[in-house]
């Protein structure tokens, strides 16, 4: 006798169909809000003349990390502008910023809760493993029925893919606070909230920032992939180059991604210190 194949895929599709049809109001609302946010940020970044934004980013780099990063950032952005990739770069940047904001605003409370509750920690960790190891492309598929083709789906997939490190590092950071300091906070009669705000969070901040840095990097890589479901930006340039078999265009867009990644990475790393 042959053991029947388990219809795992069908179950998942059934579940997704159910969610799409029953919660269409919710998904549509999310979609509209997100779309508005994306457009607002994108438009304002686009509205700034290129050289102004370049100068602003260079100034920020100089403030946070010093002259070297300021010069590097200015040169990199100038190259992107010269390659006529400025607009797609802004589109990618917008998606990264919005996805990171959403991911971090979910990840911080979840990470804190997981650090304080052993039970939540144990149930959450396998979920995070799942989220991180599932091939990133897979998230693109259910995103479409939920939010349709375009940037909102890209944000959804990006948030899911990039959130785990921020949760993990937040939890880790809080758990790493030495027991003696927790005891000291307790011994003086701190409430849980006081302990969290005055001791645990400030001491875990460098670790939390490392997690946010990771989230930004993952978000950038996912935003590029999300071009497959119609997200605008540098990923779209790469995707077009693949379809037309034009390696030159592909590398140009790829280099622009690398420049953007390095600026974001160095900036957030410098913020840690």
């Amino acid at each position: 006798m042959e053991f029947p194949r388990i219809p795992l895929g069908q179950w998942i599709e059934g579940g997704l169909d159910f969610l799409t049809s029953e919660y269409s109001v919710v998904t549509r609302a999310i979609s509209r809000v997100t779309q508005t946010g994306i457009e607002a940020l994108n438009d304002s970044l686009m509205w700034l003349p290129e050289w102004v934004l370049m100068a602003l980013i260079a100034l920020l780099s100089w403030k946070v990390a010093g002259t070297r990063l300021a010069i590097g950032a200015a040169a990199g952005l100038a190259l992107i502008w010269n390659l006529e990739l400025w607009d797609p770069m802004i589109e990618s940047l917008t998606l990264v910023v919005i996805a990171t904001l959403v991911a971090v605003s979910i990840a911080l409370p979840v990470g804190i809760a997981a650090a304080l509750s052993e039970r939540l920690y144990r149930t959450l960790m396998p979920v995070l493993d799942f989220m991180q190891t599932m091939p990133a492309f897979v998230y693109l598929i259910p995103a479409i029925p939920f939010f349709g083709i375009g940037s909102v789906s890209a944000i959804f997939a990006t948030v899911i893919f990039s959130m785990p490190p921020a949760i993990r590092f937040t939890t880790l950071g809080i758990r790493q606070v030495p027991t003696e300091l927790i005891e000291a906070a307790d011994a003086f009669g701190s409430t849980r909230k006081q302990k969290l705000l005055k001791v645990q969070l400030p001491l875990s901040l460098p670790t939390v920032m490392a997690g946010i840095n990771q989230t930004i990097m993952l978000a950038l890589s996912m935003v590029v992939i999300a071009a497959m479901i119609g997200a605008d930006g540098l990923g779209n340039e790469v995707w077009r180059a693949i379809q037309r078999l034009r390696p030159g265009d592909g590398f140009e867009a790829g280099i622009a991604v690398v420049i953007l990644a390095m600026i974001l990475d160095r900036l957030t790393q410098a913020l840690r210190k």
Binding site: P178, E180, L181, E183, A184, D186, A187, F188, G189, S190, T191, Q194, K198, V199, P202, L203
Partner: protein
């Protein structure tokens, strides 16, 4: 001496079992099983068993024991950083194990401040902000807490360091911050968990001395944990000796040394340098004879020869020590026909209080051959110490 003091904390029948079914551990203990047997049977650790003691108002109580004796558990049970399994801990009428979470917070804020072995300073806060912590979480107004924190920093000799971060300070200074943080809180009880154990020996001695001075000034009820008997004997008004989660002996340093409760305590005190612990009072002998200030030289000579002395202390009517007359000088005065001895006594001899440690007396013997006079605060002669008596006292305590 402790009878007159009121009880600040009353601990009765306190036990702590670590593990998932602690009541089972207590049952087995009540059936007469010991700590290792309970662990072997159930995996439970009997941390503390049937601890009874009082902490008196204003005293410095030392709880001492080796690692694993349960001393850290005991001090943490007092403010419930560790939940006791059974027993009473009563402070000002409140039974701490019975308090709700909210009452416990209130109780910790009012009654307890703690100083930790590895300082446990908040590294992201300045010295001043560390000292303010306890007041800050109680919601004390900004100026008031800054003022109190500055005062307590001054008390531990750290004025001028308010804006430093803890990692810019040496170990000894960091622990002063820990002490200042505890003092600023103005709680009724100070808990010190191996507070000086992480410091190097010289700094440690200084800190002990400073704690004694602070204690003398402020009369703060203090529970001090240590594994070091020398430290316990040096600073403790009373000492509780713990072993395997049970109390072996409670007593003053002198009681612990002179009447050890059992072999365990005896072995413990073997390593102590008795000359640092015993004082002039222990080796003091009553004075066999003294000269009065209005005695004539002839009388003095007779007193000396009757008692086989070649020098004699002269006292006033109120037994105040005036000086020392040597046999040669008395003889001379007799020959010269003097009527009193006021011109022949001198003050060239060693004179100590009854609490002078014996080891300080050795040096005095090598300078002078006279017996050392022991006097009280009013200069009244209490007794004398001769070299032989010091050595005999040391030998005797060593044998015990």
């Amino acid at each position: 001496m402790t009878d007159t003091q009121s009880v600040k904390i009353k601990v009765r029948n306190l036990s702590k079992v670590f593990g998932s079914n602690p009541k089972k551990g207590l049952e087995l203990r009540d059936q007469g099983l010991k700590r290792p047997e309970i662990f072997e049977k159930t995996g439970l650790t009997l941390g503390l068993s049937k601890i009874d003691f009082d902490v008196h108002e204003g005293e410095l109580l030392v709880i001492m024991g080796l690692s694993g004796s349960g001393k850290s558990t005991l001090i943490r049970c007092l403010n419930r950083l560790i939940e006791p399994t059974e027993g009473e801990i009563v402070i000002d009428g409140e039974d701490i194990p019975q308090l709700s979470d909210k009452e416990l917070l209130e109780c910790r804020r009012r009654h307890f401040s703690m100083v930790f072995q590895n300082f446990a300073l908040f590294p992201h806060r300045t010295v001043q902000q560390n000292a303010e912590y306890g007041l800050e979480i109680r919601g004390v107004a900004k100026e008031e807490r800054a003022e109190k924190a500055r005062n307590s920093l001054k008390q531990v000799g750290l004025d001028g360091w308010e804006d430093a971060l803890p990692n810019q300070l040496s170990g000894g200074m960091q622990q002063r911050v820990g002490l200042a943080r505890a003092l600023a809180n103005d709680s009724t009880v100070l808990l010190m968990d191996e507070a000086f154990s992480a410091l190097d020996p010289l700094i440690r001695k200084d800190m002990q001395q400073e704690l004694l001075e602070l204690q003398h000034r402020m009369k703060k009820t203090t529970v001090f944990i240590t594994h070091d008997l020398d430290e316990a004997l040096n600073i403790g008004d009373r000492i509780i000796l713990l072993k395997d989660g049970e109390i072996v002996q409670i007593g003053t340093p002198e009681q612990i040394l002179t009447q050890p409760a059992d072999e365990y305590v005896e072995r413990f005190i073997e390593g102590v340098d008795m000359s640092r612990i015993l004082t002039a009072r222990n080796a003091m002998r009553p004075v066999r004879a003294t000269a009065r200030e209005d005695d004539g030289p002839r009388t003095v000579l007779r007193k000396m020869s009757e008692n086989g002395l070649d020098s004699i202390y002269v006292t006033s009517r109120e037994r105040k020590l005036l000086g020392l007359v040597e046999v040669d000088a008395a003889d001379q005065a007799t020959k010269e026909g003097k009527q009193d001895i006021s011109s022949v006594w001198h003050q060239d001899f060693a004179c100590v209080g009854p609490d002078e440690p014996l080891h300080n007396l050795f040096a005095m013997f090598s300078e002078k051959s006279f017996p050392i006079a022991v006097v009280d605060e009013d200069k009244r002669l209490l007794g004398v110490v001769v070299k032989g008596a010091v050595l005999a006292e040391l030998a005797e305590s060593g044998d015990n």
